[in-house]
């Protein structure tokens, strides 16, 4: 589900940015980078961006957006802007940890599988396909439940779910590169296999890995939000976009829209940032290659 959502987002992004014409790849990349950097900056510089403690009441309950509370307050009188800013910490931590972990497992395995082929390839592919066959969100939920609710465990659960994406993309691309002539040349020159794999195939995979990383991060953002929405990530009360979305949903019908609008916006923006980076990169590389 999260994967489909990610794809829909990136497709919408691609259509929208086609307005930029020729240089759209670069514009997309820069815009995405700006969004992601902004979120990372919010996470790092949270105490500088707000005077309030996100876990303490700082104003009246359920106050609408005002100068003192630009995004309003929730039922406990906590400042929503403070919660958004501190919430970025969890999002950034989980998304980067999960995607990086996924990459660190998926890329070497995909490379190994492609280079060695035979039994190694068949066994690895079988395991990975079994994981891939599960709906990703359901699998992430199951893993998070099994591991117990915490941001670290949420990151691990998401990482496991996206290993197949890295594995399959890297394996496919490595197989393509392996058939290219310069690999034959390297063999003819008597280079050892390890060197061919690490110095000839791997460097040629960097573009693919970058693109897959950003697109997996899109899904990771959405999955992280889903997990904490379901109470499978942070402790209740911790500032987190997904949790605030869950917490605020009961107040929407009463007209307190700011409780879910801003967390929802942030989740969408963060996902959009990665989608822009991924689409921008693949556009730029396509042109170059």
């Amino acid at each position: 589900m999260a994967l489909e959502a990610g794809r829909l987002v990136s497709r919408a992004v691609a259509r929208f940015t086609s307005l930029f014409g020729q240089k759209r790849g670069r514009y997309m990349f820069i815009a995405g980078l700006a969004i992601v950097f902004t979120v990372v900056f919010m996470a790092v510089a949270a105490p500088l961006l707000t005077p309030y403690d996100p876990t303490m009441p700082s104003g009246p309950s359920l106050a609408p957006p005002s100068l003192a509370h630009p995004m309003g307050t929730n039922r406990l009188g906590q400042d929503m802007w403070a919660r958004i800013v501190y919430g970025a910490r969890i999002a950034v931590f989980v998304v980067f940890t999960a995607t990086t972990l996924s990459m660190l497992v998926g890329v070497p395995l995909g490379l190994l599988s492609a280079y060695h082929g035979g039994v190694v390839d068949r066994v690895l592919s079988m395991i990975v396909d079994a994981i891939y066959a599960f709906p990703s969100l359901i699998l992430a939920i199951a893993l998070a439940v099994a591991l117990g609710p915490s941001p670290v465990n949420a990151a691990i659960a998401i990482a496991v779910v996206y290993v197949p994406t890295f594995f399959r993309m890297v394996r496919g691309e490595a197989l393509r590169i392996k058939r290219m002539e310069f690999i034959e040349v390297a063999k003819a020159a008597g280079l050892p296999e390890s060197r061919i794999m690490l110095r000839h195939i791997l460097p040629n995979l960097i573009y693919t890995v970058l693109v897959v990383y950003s697109l997996a991060a899109v899904d990771a953002v959405l999955t992280e939000a889903a997990l904490s929405f379901l109470g499978l990530s942070v402790q209740p009360g911790t500032p987190d976009w997904g949790y605030d979305l869950y917490y605020g949903k009961d107040f929407v019908l009463s007209g307190y829209w700011w409780l879910i609008f801003f967390p929802g916006l942030m989740i969408t923006l963060f996902a959009l940032g990665f989608a822009l980076i991924g689409e921008g990169l693949s556009e730029m590389f396509r042109k170059q290659v």
Binding site: E181, A186, A189, G190, R195, P203
Partner: protein, 320 residues
Amino acid sequence: MTEPLLVVDNLKVYYYTLTGIVKAVDGVSFSVPGSELAAVVGESGSGKTTLGYSILGLIPPPGRRVSGRILIDNVDITSLHGEALRRARGELVSMVFQNPFTTLDPVRRVGDQVVEVMTEHGVPKDEAWRRAEEIFTKLGLPPRLLKAYPHQLSGGQRQRVAIAAAVALNPKLVVADEPTTALDVIVQEQIMELLDSLRRQGMTIMLITHDIALAATWATKVIVMYAGTLVEYGSVEEVVGEPLHPYTRGLINATPSVDRKDRPKSIPGLPPDLRRPPPGCRFHPRCPYAMDKCRKEPPTLIEASPGHYVSCHLYTEGRR
């Protein structure tokens, strides 16, 4: 006569495909003395490229060497495995490929690619760089290009880099598979001159080409292959000047030339399906001189005159 540098003895390489066994090289034997430029000539699918790959022990799957030996400087490369085979590639024999636009790793500097061939064969890094500069100069490349990426070079320059990497370890034999086919004629001339100069310095070159005109200009020995078999072998003067085999004659007549007024005559028919080669002589369905015997018995390679070998029934009983 000097000791032969390359000996191919009854080599058979078959591809085990799902639709049948393709007999790409089927019982080929010849030997080449050192410091020669031996051209292997034949149509697409004649097995010439497979022969080239076999010499490096690089037969792509599902291909397999069924029988035969290949000796390079008295080393049987077919008996080598693992580390010894890896070492032999590069030090004893190396290869230059057809398309210089795909044979260099696009994301690494060309200098690194030449140097790594040496360092992976035990040459210290400093010395490898020094030698790479020397080789570049020798091959007519400015040493500053060591720092360039492949996309910054022209086709001719790239092929020179590929040759530099191939000769970096001073191998006894260089197999060049259509090294000039992807290049324009002027650059082709320069690359062939380069290979020729390497030959004159003592390297043996095996040039695989479909272009008999190129072979006639640059080769010292010519090996003509047809449908996986060797049909004629000898010095360039003999094979091109006085071709014996009807197929060789056909090839020569099929070569267009600028100063020839008549149209080149193609050989009628197509090369056979190597999963089911015709019985007897494989060329008989296209041969204007085919006799009964040709349909039944495969001809053996005979020495028609000293050093000039041909595999054709027209010559087996001493008749011309």
